[in-house]
């Protein structure tokens, strides 16, 4: 083979001089998290300017606590999306885990911590079942998980007959309501989970394999990557995190509501897309996805602060979500307009 050198070229040419605004946009567009961070800064800044009640400790605690549940589900969903999969039963798994927790703790009087562990295991097992069916029967994840959402959601109603289970023990409610140094416990749980998952995604072989599978699953198998095992693992993780969110929600409410998790399906997907995760797989990161969830959380909060009519709330929040995901595309078009 030739010895012609192909050492990576020195940073090519002087960066062309851009007007400051364009330079900022350009820097944001290059960084994969740039789009979501920019959108977050703008929305946060606008919220501070618009409402004096926004940047208060009280309000921040509310946002952080609300964010925790959606955030946990978002982490799991974003990994599945990077893999090129989707799980529409995460909400149902969260709800089922919550009521199973309630039954174990209240009706059967089991040790709360043991119950919690069992619920998490059950959530993981539900996710694993999804993954096993998808990989072994070669089903499309979207269709299968719609069906499984019905199964898990139905099991929830069978177990509870639609009635909430009250009287959750006190040592558990701390997990949902407590503050540690002013920070809500569920939010801390979210941060810990996000840190672990992000580390695995960015710095370990398994994380790389996940991106590789999302980019080209056939080529991944050709390289000897255990594609199906990783897929099943990711579904199990998503189920586990949903169950964690479900049980934390029970702890926060003090009752196991059968309706927990009903709204956890589309929000996390939107959050992941806002955060730069491609719906086609291979691109994005769980950090971006959670930042996307933060954006949605702020939007929903500011709508309440403004006292916008509840009928209009979803119109406004949906519209802002569309704006946020457009940022990336718009920035790129703006930069390319007179490039080349």
């Amino acid at each position: 083979m030739s010895l012609e050198t192909t050492v990576p070229a020195a940073p090519s040419q002087q960066p062309p001089k851009l007007p400051p605004f364009k330079a900022l946009i350009s820097r944001l567009a290059v960084n994969p998290l740039g789009g979501v961070v920019a959108a977050l800064v703008i929305i946060f800044g606008a919220s501070c300017a618009l409402s004096p009640h926004f940047l208060t400790t009280f309000n921040m605690v509310i946002i952080a606590r609300a964010l925790a549940f959606i955030g946990l589900v978002t982490i799991g969903q974003s990994i599945l999306m990077i893999l090129g999969e989707l799980d529409l039963s995460v909400g149902a798994i969260g709800g089922l885990a919550g009521v199973v927790g309630g039954i174990l703790m209240v009706q059967l009087g089991l040790n709360p911590w043991l119950s919690l562990g069992l619920c998490l295991l059950m959530g993981g097992a539900c996710g694993l079942l999804n993954g096993a069916l998808i990989t072994q029967l070669r089903l499309h994840s979207l269709v299968l998980t719609i069906g499984m959402a019905g199964v898990y959601g139905g099991a929830n109603l069978v177990a509870t007959k639609g009635v909430a289970i009250t009287g959750v023990p006190r040592d558990i409610t701390f997990l949902g309501r407590g503050l540690v140094m002013g920070v809500p416990v569920p939010f801390l749980v979210l941060l810990v989970c996000l840190a672990i998952v992000a580390f695995v995604m960015l710095r370990t072989p398994v994380g790389r394999y996940i991106y590789a599978i999302g980019s080209n699953p056939d080529a991944a198998r050709m390289l000897g990557i255990r594609v199906n095992a990783i897929r099943m693992g990711a579904f199990a993780l998503a189920g586990f995190l949903s169950a964690l969110a479900g049980i934390l929600m029970v702890a926060r409410l003090g009752t196991a509501q059968p309706s927990i998790g009903d709204t956890w399906v589309l929000g996390p997907i939107a959050a992941a897309v806002i955060g730069g995760v491609a719906t086609t797989g291979g691109i994005g990161s769980p950090i971006g996805a959670v930042l996307g969830a933060v954006i949605i959380g702020i939007i929903e909060d500011i709508i309440v602060l403004f006292g916008i009519s509840p009928y209009w709330q979803s119109v406004v929040s949906g519209g802002i979500v569309v704006l946020a995901i457009s940022f990336d595309a718009l920035a790129r078009r703006y930069l390319n307009r007179d490039a080349v």
Binding site: P8, R208, Y211, A219
Partner: protein
């Protein structure tokens, strides 16, 4: 008389000059060959001819009129891309006439009967083995290729037909058939542009040849005055020793079996048994569809076997487990670079390091320092031309993607390596680089299987050649003592030629 002419066309992309003052004149009734290595500017030139690329400088004249101003003139140029570009879940007839505005199938409704009747004629004319109402994803790849050509050629108004490597998935017979069609079109007065890397095709078909090198036109010559040697020299800018052989110089010993396959059966082949020795280059010859790739993918665990066993140094490779095959030291390089090779969304660095991540972790964490080291080594050693390791691999040329993938496989230090058509669509300079890599590996003791449809490639590299016909192994021949006719007989299934060396 000219039908299409481009003058001093220049096109630059950030950091590259793709075309540098290129001239080209196409005459009706002539087959014009475009030759050049990967990255010489052929694709950009073709895209300029079809109007997909607007040049920075220069003129494009179609029938003497400026096509850059009147873009409807580009409708006279029909283009058949190299990659299949059909609607799989639609019928042959629908594919042919998409978007249904060509020959009066109604403006609001589509008459299936009229369309299928018109399609039947074209199917006959182009010798496609399909019915008008058949779904395209149910017909064979060669037929799809012909359909694609028929689709381009069924437009009445075209004056120029551009074919970009149309034979890459055709067998010899189908190629001959296609050539007859191309010659008919030429005799009807069509100007044809033909791009191919295969010398025999260029010489069988061409009237004129234009050679491109590094974005410049080296010249246009009548084919009659051209020899193979000359053409290669013009393309590469230096002479490539055509007679060079790449058989490993160390002879494999009988006892040194590294891979043994017993009675393997799977999709498209059955009862395959053979052994591979350490340091040997074992060629697999056969027609497209003889089951060679399927056999290899089944041994590797990518496809499921329906019977038989494969042992790598005595250890059985479990069925359907590519991860076990890789762990045992086997690597398979697919001919489908796009589908089975590259990870388009990932960088060159990530693409290369992916195969060896498990070996460069410290305490479970990928060590960036070691990763960068391995990647830089691979890029240097395999001459992967990229501006940086962080560039997305999808932005590299085909030849450089292939070198990156081979480098990735090598970084794994395999004991058995299967190359499936490693030089498909690769220019001759890079081809020889790849042969040298294969030879060097064999001499280091790696067992190598080389699946190839090019007889010259097998004769140049393989020490032993196994032939397959219609899903069965028909013979095993010592390369040095077997003539081409015997091999060809075995791959087309002539029974009298069966013997085992």
């Amino acid at each position: 008389m000219t039908v299409l002419q481009i003058e001093a066309v220049r096109k630059t992309y950030p950091g590259v000059v793709a075309l540098d003052h290129v001239d080209l004149t196409l005459e009706p009734g002539k087959i014009h060959i475009l030759a050049g290595e990967n990255g010489a500017g052929k694709s950009t030139l073709i895209k300029t001819l079809t109007g997909l690329v607007v040049p920075d400088e220069g003129a494009v004249l179609i029938e003497g009129r400026d096509a850059l101003h009147d873009r409807t003139l580009f409708e006279k140029v029909a283009y058949v891309p190299q990659e299949l570009n059909l609607f799989g879940p639609m019928t042959v007839a629908e594919n042919m006439f998409m978007p249904f505005n060509r020959s009066g199938f109604g403006h609001l409704t589509v008459s299936r009967r009229a369309m299928e009747k018109a399609a039947a004629e074209l199917i006959k004319r182009f010798g496609i083995h399909a019915k008008p109402g058949q779904f395209v994803n149910r017909i064979s790849v060669p037929d799809q290729q012909l359909l694609q050509i028929a689709r381009a050629a069924c437009r009445e108004e075209f004056k120029v037909l551009i074919l970009d490597e149309p034979t890459s998935s055709l067998t010899a017979n189908e190629t001959e058939h296609l050539f007859r069609i191309i010659r008919t079109l030429r005799d009807d007065g069509c100007a044809i542009v033909f791009v191919s890397h295969k010398m025999e095709e260029i010489f069988a078909l061409g009237d004129t040849v234009t050679v491109l090198r590094n974005g410049r036109s080296v010249g246009t010559y009548p084919m009659r005055e051209m020899t193979e040697d000359q053409l290669i020299r013009l393309m590469s800018g230096s002479s490539v020793p055509l007679e060079e052989k790449f058989q490993p110089r160390v002879v494999a010993t009988e006892s040194d079996v590294i891979l043994s396959v017993k009675d393997m059966s799977g999709p498209g082949f059955s009862d395959a048994s053979f052994v591979l020795r350490r340091g040997e280059i074992l060629g697999f010859a056969g027609l497209v569809g003889a089951g060679r790739s399927e056999l290899m993918q089944t041994i590797f665990g990518y496809l499921r076997s329906t019977g038989g066993h494969a042992f790598l140094e005595g250890e059985e490779i479990p069925k359907g487990r590519t991860d076990r095959a890789v762990a045992l030291g086997m690597v398979y390089l697919s001919e489908e670079r796009k589908h089975h090779g590259i990870f388009p969304l990932l960088s060159v660095r990530e693409n290369i390091s992916l195969s060896v991540l498990d070996r460069m972790k410290r305490g479970g964490i990928i060590s960036s320092a070691r990763e960068n080291e391995v990647v830089a080594d691979t890029i240097r050693q395999f001459d992967v031309r990229t501006s940086s390791a962080g560039k997305k691999i999808a932005h590299l040329s085909g030849g450089n993607q292939q070198k990156a993938i081979i480098g990735r496989a090598m970084a794994r230090r395999p004991r058995v390596l299967i190359f499936d058509e490693p030089t498909k669509g690769i220019d001759i300079g890079t081809k020889f680089q790849i042969y040298r890599i294969i030879q060097q590996l064999a001499e280091e003791g790696v067992g190598i299987i080389l699946v190839s449809s090019e007889m010259t490639e097998l004769q140049r590299c393989a020490s032993r050649i196994i032939t397959m016909y219609s899903g069965r192994i028909t013979g095993s021949f010592d390369q040095a003592t077997t003539d081409v006719n015997t091999l060809v007989g075995a791959i087309i299934g002539a029974p009298e030629n069966r013997h085992v060396a």
